[in-house]
């Protein structure tokens, strides 16, 4: 593989550049996927049947914790990539681990929230509104879960193999994915929770 030293490691080979570009296009498809889920939610938001409404369910504290966890994690992964560009392996791994812990925190609160909903009689089968709510949140949550595993494997690889064009490439692509999840969350935060609580 030809390595171009004028570029950051994650962009340094042809294969790496193709992978990053390919991942951007994949994110385009992900946007279409989440857009469809949002559209479904907006269509069904008033289809509450005999079940509870959003106003009844949504609580500010859990929402704030989730948002703080996820937004901070997006910041720390940015620091991780910055450390990676500076060639500091330990700092990179450290920031990645902090990111993953924050992600785990987000997921924990989300699971707690889902359990609460079910206790209040709001299950995925109750009404169309709840089906679409759980599906939208659940798809995002599943993405975060996948990200936790993915990130863990990347940390393991950086630790074992050091900062190679391959590992930095994987870490960079993972950071794109993680930022994307954050962006989706901002939409969920604004158009599902805040709109639902108003």
């Amino acid at each position: 593989m030809k390595i171009d030293n004028s570029l950051p490691l994650e962009y340094s080979t042809e294969e790496n550049r193709l992978k990053i570009f390919g991942f951007w296009i994949f994110l385009g498809a992900e946007i279409a996927l989440f857009a469809t889920l949002f559209a479904t939610y907006f269509v069904l938001v008033d289809g509450t049947g005999n079940g509870p409404t959003g106003e009844h369910l949504f609580k500010l504290p859990t929402l704030m914790f989730q948002t703080i966890f996820l937004l901070t994690s997006s910041f720390t992964i940015g620091l991780g990539i910055n450390a990676m560009r500076l060639g500091r392996q330990k700092a990179t791994i450290g920031f990645f681990i902090i990111t993953l812990i924050l992600g785990l925190g987000f997921l924990g609160v989300e699971i707690y929230e889902f359990v609460e909903y079910v206790h209040e009689g709001a299950t995925i089968q109750t009404s169309a509104f709840l089906s679409s709510l759980f599906t939208l949140l659940g798809t995002h949550g599943a993405h975060v879960t996948l990200g936790l595993f993915w990130g863990t494997f990347i940390v393991m690889q950086i630790k074992k193999r050091g900062m190679t064009p391959e590992t930095t490439n994987k870490a960079f692509i993972f950071s794109l994915y993680w930022h994307f999840l954050d962006v989706v969350w901002i939409f969920i935060f604004s158009f599902v929770y805040l709109k639902g609580m108003m």
């Binding site: 593989m1 498809a29 289809g47 049947g49 005999n50 995925i124 089906s131 599906t135």
Partner: protein
């Protein structure tokens, strides 16, 4: 329900039991044959694990041809059933399953894979690339499509086929009205194949945008490559919608969610909208590459450059944009207001404008051309008037108010077969014949090819033209029988006769492959058609690395210019070439996907969970694997090149 009862066919008929026996015997014969000829190792090393875009393309086409015959048998059964009034060949339920699977198989498992197969083989060659951007992902795409198709195909012998039409409208497709597992098959098999298609879309966008030969800017790409680029953009933005729609359908059917229900706030119209937001662009996923194929073939055999290159590109972009904003024309009569119908009516008719531009460009290319009547050219020439007829009836259907008269009649069935068959089927047959020598190193027989062309073209018109008339007379589609007093009998009989003609035509294609494989001359040049684009600049058969030296391009028809104006395509020295290694993981992972899908269809949760873990294990394996591919040395390349040159 008792465990084994679930796998039983809900409405057994002798035909289905006969198929079971036939499938069983064929599988035993295939396994025995491979074992007898000791081909397991060859099969595994050269095909099942391959990451070569040319071989993956050939496998796509092979699978698509098989599906063509499966869907074709469905079609024959339908035409046979309606050939005479009050016919009892198939019962109503069986007929529902047959037309549902016919639609799904032909669109998703025949037309699209056939096109993806051709694009796999041709696109990297046309842009002077050595491979696609992600060769291994390409193998994953193929195997996911293949396993999805196979899962869908076993539905009619294990548990029952989907019976709610290929559109699977709710509430018809809900548990209340479709009790068998058929619609589960629909939701899950298409999902698996759809993931494969999405990955193909990403792969080819990157390939075309990033791996073109030096000098080939976007406006110098061959028209087929342009059509593929646009198609893949449609795939990437349309398929996620299908993914979501099918996931919601799966949850409604398996987990009791309320998305498309009639109570608890659900909306059956949501399904119709989601389905067609994907479904309408899907039409253009199968038609735009066909336009690309025709553009290549018409300019090759009119011996002229393509007329109006820029307008061809612009019109394809326009068509692809419009394809996303016309979906509601599929359900004018399902109760949206005049305003909505009006808007969708106008956007639909607008598509006729860029399509018309393309038709005229092809006509102008033919004008003053020296036309050579080869088999691919015959298909292209037949396409123009037949497709225009299909397009004009499309504009008729686009008029919302008039559509109230003939929606859901045979008129619609005639219309979409008049666009899809000359549009896509003729195109893939033409492309298949045109690129065949590049794939296999010999030509298909022109004589047998012409026979099959005439059987198919005439058979097609005899089959589908009567449907325009019966449709306007009020014969509803999907109606499994009718009484004699309706007077539909004679024209339906005529359709059946035409269908037999079509079947003979397709059978002749198989005979042609058999005959040409045995008797056709192997002594052909690299460029047997005297063609114009880069895929003909390399050797036949194509070496693994496609081009020993990456070509340089300075016009839209660099290869033609190299022949006629002495433009130098290949400069510089041979260097070692980096190639990816074969891998069994894509195949294994897709097999696990098949198991996962089957377990999901029958709600066997433990197996489904184990399979899910297996799928992720394959991905983790990939993440940790160290596979940097290999290099082909200069000596090896020169040896191959000399051998291929000597073969001429």
């Amino acid at each position: 329900m008792d465990y084994f009862d679930r796998f039983a066919v809900p409405h057994p008929s002798p035909a289905i039991y006969a198929s079971m026996v036939a499938i069983g015997l064929t599988m035993i014969a295939v396994v025995a044959g491979i074992t007898y000829f000791k081909k397991w190792g060859y099969l595994w090393r050269e095909w099942l694990t391959t990451v070569d875009h040319k071989r993956i393309g050939i496998m796509y086409i092979l699978a698509a041809l098989l599906m063509l015959f499966r869907g074709g048998v469905d079609a024959l059964m339908m035409r046979a059933q309606t050939a005479i009034p009050d016919n009892g060949l198939l019962d109503g339920q069986h007929y529902n399953e047959v037309f549902t699977t016919h639609g799904v198989v032909m669109i998703l498992f025949m037309a699209m894979p056939f096109i993806i197969g051709l694009m796999n083989i041709v696109t990297p060659l046309q842009i002077g690339a050595r491979d696609v951007a992600f060769p291994r992902l390409n193998a994953v795409s193929f195997w996911l499509f293949f396993m999805g198709a196979m899962l869908f195909n076993i539905s009619f012998v294990v548990g029952g086929s989907p019976d709610a039409g290929w559109t699977s409208y709710f509430p018809l497709a809900s548990n209340d009205f479709s009790e068998s597992v058929g619609s589960n098959y629909y939701a899950i098999a298409i999902q698996i194949a759809g993931i494969g298609t999405l990955l193909t879309g990403i792969n080819f966008i990157v390939t075309i945008l990033k791996m073109r030969a030096p000098g080939m800017n976007l406006m110098k790409m061959p028209m087929f490559t342009w059509s593929i680029l646009i198609t893949n953009f449609i795939i990437v933005f349309a398929f996620p919608v299908l993914t979501v729609a099918l996931a919601l359908m799966t949850m409604d059917r398996l987990f009791g969610t309320q998305f498309f229900t009639m109570a608890n706030g659900g909306s059956d119209m949501l399904w119709a909208n989601l389905f067609w937001v994907w479904g309408h662009p899907e039409v253009y996923i199968v038609i735009l590459p066909a336009f690309g194929i025709y553009s290549e073939i018409i300019s090759t055999f009119a011996r002229r450059n393509l007329y109006g290159y820029n307008s061809m590109v612009i019109s394809m972009v326009a068509i692809s944009t419009l394809s996303f904003i016309v979906w509601a024309h599929h359900f004018y009569t399902m109760g949206h207001g005049a305003m909505v119908n009006g808007i969708f009516s106008i956007t639909t008719m607008a598509i006729a404008v860029p399509t018309g531009v393309k038709i005229f460009n092809w006509l102008f290319t033919l004008w003053k051309g020296k036309i050579v009547f080869t088999v691919p050219m015959l298909y292209s020439l037949a396409f123009i008037p037949i497709f225009t007829l299909g397009g004009v009836t499309g504009v008729m259907l686009a008029m919302a108010s008039a559509d109230y008269q003939y929606h859901n009649t045979m008129f619609l069935v005639a219309h979409f077969h008049y666009v899809l068959i000359p549009g896509t089927v003729f195109a893939v047959l033409a492309g298949f014949t045109y690129w065949w020598p590049k794939m296999f190193g010999f030509m298909l027989s022109e004589k047998i090819g012409k026979w099959s062309f005439w059987f198919i073209t005439i058979g097609f018109n005899v089959t589908f033209f009567p449907m325009f008339i019966t449709g306007l007379d009020g014969q509803a589609r999907r109606m499994y029988t009718y009484s004699e007093s309706t007077g539909y009998g004679p024209l339906n009989m005529l359709s059946f006769v035409g269908a037999i003609g079509l079947a003979i035509g397709f059978a002749l294609i198989v005979y042609n492959i058999y005959w040409s494989t045995r008797y056709a001359s192997r002594n052909i040049s690299n460029d047997p058609w005297d063609a114009r684009s880069l895929e003909w600049a390399t050797h036949t058969p194509i070496p693994e690395y496609n081009f020993a030296i990456v070509p340089t391009v300075d016009s839209t028809e660099a290869f033609w210019d190299s022949k006629k104006k002495g433009f130098k395509l290949f400069g510089g020295k041979v260097e070692k070439i980096h190639m990816p290694n074969n891998s069994g993981v894509p195949f294994i992972m897709s097999c696990i996907f098949f198991v996962w899908g089957f377990a999901m269809v029958f709600s066997m949760w433990i197996i489904a969970i184990i399979a899910t873990i297996g799928i992720f294990a394959c991905m983790i394996h990939r993440s940790f694997e160290k596979d940097h591919g290999r290099y082909i040395s200069v000596e090896e390349i020169e040896e191959t090149e000399n051998k291929l040159r000597g073969a001429k």
